[in-house]
């Protein structure tokens, strides 16, 4: 059971990440590429949270309900990190979308194959 959980949970998160990368590598539409980056980020964030989980753990909050009961708590560190990672991912996505807008204005297309004025 444990092994199944391990493989399925990490596998799912990694699958999501690689799905995003697949979109980045295969899709021709700039917007889809940005979405791919976003999806890859989400998969990564899921991985973070999954790594932080401890069997039978509760949320790491000392509310009066749990205080002093000695329950196991999940690891708070990846949760804090994922918060940072999400914000950074958001920032990158926003900049990417702005660039897509600029590129569309200039080239009148969102096909990445047609946007290569700079080469060699």
């Amino acid at each position: 059971m444990q092994a199944f959980l391990t493989y399925s949970i990490y596998g799912t998160a990694l699958f999501l990440m690689l799905l995003g990368l697949y979109a980045v590598l295969m899709k021709k539409n700039l917007i889809k590429i940005v979405i791919g980056l976003s999806v890859a980020d989400s998969g990564l964030h899921l991985l973070f949270v999954a790594v932080g989980y401890i069997n039978g753990g509760t949320a790491p909050i000392f509310s009066p309900a749990v205080a002093g009961t000695g329950t196991v708590m999940t690891d708070p560190v990846p949760q804090a990190l994922v918060l940072t990672a999400i914000v950074i991912g958001f920032g990158v996505t926003a900049v990417a979308l702005a660039l897509v807008v600029r590129l569309y204005r200039k080239h009148n297309t969102t096909n990445i194959d047609e946007i290569k004025n700079l080469k060699w």
């Binding site: 444990q2 092994a3 959980l5 391990t6 493989y7 949970i9 990490y10 596998g11 990694l14 699958f15 690689l18 990368l21 697949y22 590598l25 295969m26 991985l47 999954a50 790594v51 989980y53 401890i54 069997n55 753990g57 949320a59 790491p60 909050i61 000392f62 509310s63 009066p64 205080a67 196991v72 708590m73 690891d75 708070p76 560190v77 949760q79 804090a80 990190l81 918060l83 940072t84 999400i86 914000v87 950074i88 958001f90 920032g91 990158v92 926003a94 900049v95 979308l97 702005a98 660039l99 807008v101 600029r102 204005r105 200039k106």
Partner: protein
């Protein structure tokens, strides 16, 4: 063909990464991590119930400062990327290309908007007590604004106000951090110099609550600003790329 190549490449990557991740089974605790220290110190020294918050704002507060900077940066970069020189002829005539939303949506949005903002404020004010915090609260507030932006073609945010909020909130974060250099016991950046209070009190955690409120304002203002920049075209018509 390309499909097959890429899928097999990603498959190989997946195989290696998965083999690295499954080395420690899911949900297993490891020893000697820094987390135990955080779990002990957060309620004892900082009197902060939400350990994630105490990590985000205090133990790793420097990261959060960077994070806030990233958001600020994103909005600045966005402004710089989509910036257009104002020609003297065309007056500033902001407009949106999106179609007008239905009356139902408009009315609903009007009702939901204040509550969304209120919820956001609640979330970031109670960041050290309950799940949530400045980023989450700010994001909720921005959602409220997004709702308004997409419902009303004529709803515009005042960028001047946003600038002031961003500047003051960001400044207060850094200033609070710098104050730690002067007033705190060990004279460290971002160190707590206020009384910690009691666990699970609203006024607990010293500077943590204050910083999270500042972060909430800043995030709310910045995301709203970003959404507005992306949604609104400042000038009538699309000018061709200059130069």
């Amino acid at each position: 063909m390309k499909n097959v190549i890429i899928i097999s490449l990603l498959g190989v990557t997946a195989y290696y990464l998965l083999s690295a991740f499954v080395s420690i089974p899911f949900g297993e605790d490891f020893i000697n991590g820094v987390k135990d220290f955080y779990l002990n110190k957060s309620p004892e020294d900082l009197k902060v119930a939400n350990v994630v918050t105490s990590i985000v704002v205090n133990f790793r507060g420097f990261d959060t400062l960077g994070e806030v900077t990233v958001l600020f940066l994103a909005s600045t970069a966005l402004g710089s990327i989509l910036y257009r020189r104002r020609s003297s002829h065309t007056a500033l005539n902001p407009q949106r290309t999106a179609p007008q939303a239905s009356t139902l949506v408009q009315a609903g949005a009007k009702v939901i908007f204040p509550f969304t903002v209120l919820l956001g404020a609640y979330v970031f004010i109670h960041g050290h007590l309950t799940p949530g915090g400045g980023f989450q609260g700010g994001a909720i507030i921005a959602t409220g604004f997004l709702l308004m932006l997409i419902s009303y073609r004529k709803f515009f945010v005042e960028h001047n106000v946003l600038t002031w909020i961003e500047a003051l909130a960001g400044t207060s974060f850094v200033v609070i951090g710098l104050a730690g250099l002067v007033y705190a016991d060990n004279h460290n950046f971002l160190e707590n110099f206020l009384p910690a209070g009691e666990l699970n009190d609203l006024l607990s955690g010293g500077i943590i609550g204050i910083i999270y409120i500042a972060v909430g304002f800043k995030v709310g203002a910045e995301i709203t600003g970003i959404l507005d920049t992306l949604l609104t075209i400042k000038e009538a018509g699309l000018d061709p790329e200059e130069n």
